[in-house]
């Protein structure tokens, strides 16, 4: 299990509009889309009061948020490289083996995916940090997400070859980019969850499937690939069972215990064999 906490950072989303930090009223847009260039972030936001994991599409003007089920992130063929002769990177494969890398620093013509907790309501009402969990993945190759520390030392966030689930912390109101590495072309489905605790003690979480298509082929193929279990159903259940605490003046707080949380756990355990 990963036990690292991501950078204490507050970054500005790199859009050309002035004051382009995440705005409270950014719309959710639906409709299937393949994104293969420019800046996107995975992140939680409150949609109609419900904590929802979405993809912030910063290639649109102004920026919009999309449900994960509507998006395929395409890793262009230009991202292809090979494993270097450097023992620090041996965890990516044998020297010379092919890799597709979306780097942590922006490269023209490539997708630049990051993750943020900058939705204004997330930034102000969630306690300290969100937890980002990778429950599992399917795909034709290996997936690793890492950052480069001092002198390039890889600092791994997720390693698809290691036991699941894997967790990392994302401080609230932060924005981070990492290196997304894949070892074979084709469709990858990442079963991801972001969760947190609000300052008034509520547990919030959402879990969904992030689709990535690696290489020059038809990226819409990733839409046709079925997740190992219907992850989206979990989210619907959670949304519909969230009980928001009601405060009568001086009255008791109704603490939120979610059926969705139980369901999530059950699904996680059913997947450990895969």
């Amino acid at each position: 299990m990963m036990r690292m906490l991501l950078a204490l950072v507050v970054a500005l989303a790199p859009t050309p509009t002035v004051g382009s930090s995440v705005q409270p009223d950014e719309p959710t847009v639906t409709g299937r889309t393949v994104l293969d260039e420019g800046h996107v972030d995975l992140g939680p936001r409150f949609v109609d009061g419900a904590w929802t994991l979405q993809l912030r599409d910063d290639t649109a003007r102004p920026s919009v948020w999309r449900p994960l089920s509507d998006v395929v992130l395409q890793v262009a063929e230009a991202a292809r490289t090979t494993v270097p002769a450097d023992e620090r990177f041996a965890f990516l494969g044998a020297t010379g083996a092919p890799l597709w890398v979306l780097p942590q620093a922006q490269q023209p013509g490539m997708l630049w995916p990051g993750w943020n907790t900058q939705d204004p309501r997330v930034a102000t009402t969630v306690n300290r940090e969100a937890t980002w969990t990778l429950h599992g993945l399917t795909g034709p190759g290996h997936f690793v997400l890492f950052l480069n520390g001092n002198f390039g030392e890889p600092q791994v966030v997720f390693d698809g070859a290691k036991p699941m689930p894997q967790r990392t912390g994302v401080e609230v109101n932060t924005h981070v980019h990492g290196n997304w590495v894949f070892t074979a072309p084709g469709s990858y489905l990442l079963d991801v969850e972001m969760s947190g605790t609000t300052t008034d003690g509520r547990e919030v979480s959402d879990r969904d499937t992030l689709r990535v298509f690696v290489g020059a082929g038809d990226a819409t193929a990733a839409f046709a690939t079925n997740p190992p279990t219907p992850a989206h159903a979990t989210r619907d259940v959670q949304e519909s069972t969230v009980v928001w605490p009601l405060l009568a003046g001086g009255g008791a707080v109704l603490l939120v215990i979610l059926a969705g949380g139980l369901l999530t756990r059950r699904r996680a355990s059913s997947r450990t064999g895969e």
Partner: protein
Amino acid sequence: MRRHLSAALAVTLLIGAGCDRAAGAGDGGLRVVTTTEILADLVRQVGGDKVTVDSIVPSGGDPHSYEPNPGDAVKVSKADVTFTNHLLLEPHGLIKTIDTNIKDGASNVSLAEVSESYGATVIPLVENIGLDVLWLGLAVRGDGEQRGATRSSDILLSATALDGPGHLAVYLTQTLGEPEVYVNSADGLDAKDSVSLPPAAHTHVNWAFSKPGIYRLTLRAALRTGGGVSEPAGEGTFTFAVGVDPHSVRSGATILGDGHTDIAVDLDSGQIYAYSDVASASGDAARKQASLPAGDVVIDVPNKAIETVPDDPRFGFIGAPGTRIHQLPQAVLGKHVHGEIDPHLWEDVRNAKAYAQLIRDALVKADPDSAATYRDNARRYLATLDELDEYVRGQIGRIPADRRQLITTHDAFGYLAKAYDMTVAGFVVPNPAQEPSAAQVTKLTETIRNLRVPAVFVEPHLANRAAVLTQVAKDQGVRICKLYGDSFDEHARSYVDMMRHNADELRDCLGGP
């Protein structure tokens, strides 16, 4: 909201407590066991003569390394209420002794974990102090339409002058370990010492300095809109305090010491400025980035950021292998341990107030007949803690800002630093159960030398483990003073004594009018 929730939490914690109060309330009143003597003192202040309090870790003992014995299990089994700090302050064996021996119906309160709902502020545990530094990037802001900028324009950011005791290299290490050098002053500054940024760029780079001291770096931006057209887009000179106290550079400047800052080219205003969240000032989760003129900021590159140049020819542009440099890193992943909190909350007196309120509610629940006494005692004690908080703040406030540097035996003073505006410049090891490495000792020596601190601080219960720090201090001719961290000694027998001592000692040893 918070109060309602805390009540709910306390109820959860205290389920069943009080039902066999008669047994515990016999001759000795309510029987309470705590892990440390600091917690025992807080319970005595609130419980008064209605409680009998025992600490498992003996006076002067180190809670981080305490090994429980069979007598402790007996103590726990007789308790009506137990208080632990938790959050990894106590070793697992001690927590387990309590959890397995506590009698049915007694309550078991983890103070640090629940105190947040009583208004305590907590800070994440720092895993790698070398990453607990400013994250300094480069950005382009504004669309620059009135200057003719388009999506295909680029912005050339050039280093035109550097004034300082050593060299500066600004570079990005690519995904697979290959450095890309943008600026390197070792061979002089010329047209090569530039980076081309697209509009709306945002990137993070390494800033490596070869020697400690004050540096002034002048950056100039030009907007290139195609066809060889280049237009000035701003100039600014940024000051870096490398290994030296940033307060000493210029009074009134904003110190950029943690959080996230970009050196930003603003195409609309034609300026280069620091676009910073100035985290140290607010400590606020919802802080926003703001523009600060280059001349108004000092960028802190502390001794925590000392690194050794690796034996890899690709990094030879920074210095020979083994050279010690100061470097702000391009990524700060791994700074904190996910989900773990620094356990030493009481070094901020306001957190001790939260503990006292939580203790009050736990005692009232366990022994409702004495509720009025507990509430009266707590009210008086909270007033005492308010005075104590003012006192500590006042004493530390009299230390000149550039001398508020803490160098200690272990990492127990993060809360003190945060609450009373000091800087944790270094410590021997994060946890006293660890032995320092040669690299940690070297870094500590350089920290003391570079900062010219007047004193270092040893915790009395760790005096026999402070050989490294005392030796380094003697070599550097620096005073060795005493700060209480996790426990008391014969001179400080209460929490209030301990914190008053800490405040007086800091002022005395670090200096002040």
